[in-house]
Symmetry: C2
Subunit: 225 residues, 2 copies
């Protein structure tokens, strides 16, 4: 347990369980057994229950009285709902980043963008993925709003619940990074409105990709039946 002393045992356990959910090792609808988890982490049930309570509040688990806690099931409708909110928050993030970001931070964005571009040309998704995360985390940092950051990250985590089999979309890196360029230019020009719209557009196209992917999957399932 990494942060045992820093935040206590129950929080460490909470992060561990969260990882299990986010990595998909615990999938939507799965039941969490308290004694199983307890002996897995080498603790008693007390801290496990506290950890679960936190994850329920975070929206990653759902609790049913006298029956236990389950990994939250997210259907298509909810996922799109969350995407809409996320798109809107991203717009705000773009605006704030363009307003409050320092010149150094903007330079760091350019650096990340260069590495992203390199990954695109090499068609290397493994390299693209972490840099893409870094790009968006840097933008969050530039907003200067701690509350906005936690709220946004919470939404992103929730969206991980919607990772269905066969819906991993690792194409369209080129389009994605072209959008990054538009965002970056707007921020560099200190144009909050433009930056916000570019951010919003960036998420909405991702949502569109997801929707068509779902459509394709749904159709192919229909053919199979």
């Amino acid at each position: 347990m990494s942060d045992l002393l820093a935040t206590g045992l129950s929080t460490a356990v909470q992060n561990k369980i969260e990882d299990l959910v986010l990595q998909g090792k615990l999938q939507g609808g799965d039941k969490l057994n308290e004694v199983e988890l307890a002996e897995l982490f080498g603790t008693s049930r007390g801290p496990i229950r506290e950890a679960c309570k936190g994850l329920v509040q975070a929206g990653l688990l759902t609790a049913v009285p006298n029956r236990g806690v389950f990994v939250r099931k997210m259907d298509v409708r909810e996922a799109l709902e969350v995407y809409d909110i996320r798109a809107f928050l991203d717009q705000l993030i773009g605006q704030l980043a363009a307003t409050h970001g320092s010149d150094e931070q903007i330079q760091e964005l350019w650096d990340i963008h260069a590495r992203l571009d390199k990954a695109v040309r090499a068609d290397d998704f493994e390299a693209y993925y972490p840099e893409n995360l870094a790009f968006h985390e840097k933008l969050l940092e530039m907003t200067g709003s701690r509350r906005l950051t936690t709220m946004y990250l919470s939404l992103v985590k929730e969206l991980h619940l919607f990772r269905r089999k066969g819906l991993i979309q690792q194409g369209s890196m080129d389009v994605s990074n072209a959008e990054h360029a538009l965002i970056l230019e707007a921020i560099a020009h200190r144009d909050p409105v433009k930056a916000g719209l570019a951010m919003r557009n960036h998420v909405m196209t991702a949502k569109q990709r997801l929707m068509t992917a779902i459509e394709v999957q749904s159709v192919s399932e229909q053919i199979a039946s």
Copy 2:
């Protein structure tokens, strides 16, 4: 305990403690004693700890390892930060309400607005306050987005942490309800953009009122010293 069977003991306790915080009976920085709360609610410390874990995750309490949990202290900077996010979310709420709200719901908004207007003319804040809540809750309902609703309510709860002594602003009911009228008209005309901007403006003026109130308080404190 009202919802004991529905959601379990720890959740009931969590709501009780949340009420204590929201009503200001527990103020920012106050320490929560587990045994005290346990005998207050007639339970053992287990459910108390679980409840606190949930409230920490919700952002109403902060936990310090080996020292306990405290009511979260929110400074001016954080409060304004939250106001900005809330204003933005309200814009989204306005857009969605104008798009997805039913004609019946719009009629209910008119009804609430009429009662608000009556309270304004009678200068009756006690009557205005609950109807104002109802107005905004109806708008939330009209969005059709459960996630947006919980997220928004969570922010509103957080803002309660910033209730300082002498900052209760119960004036400006007339301006506030005039803004309600603008929102309502835009929604009735099914104009999402206009409705969103009216909502955003509604919160921003509230933020402005808060800022000037803080300024006044700060100045008067300086005089007193």
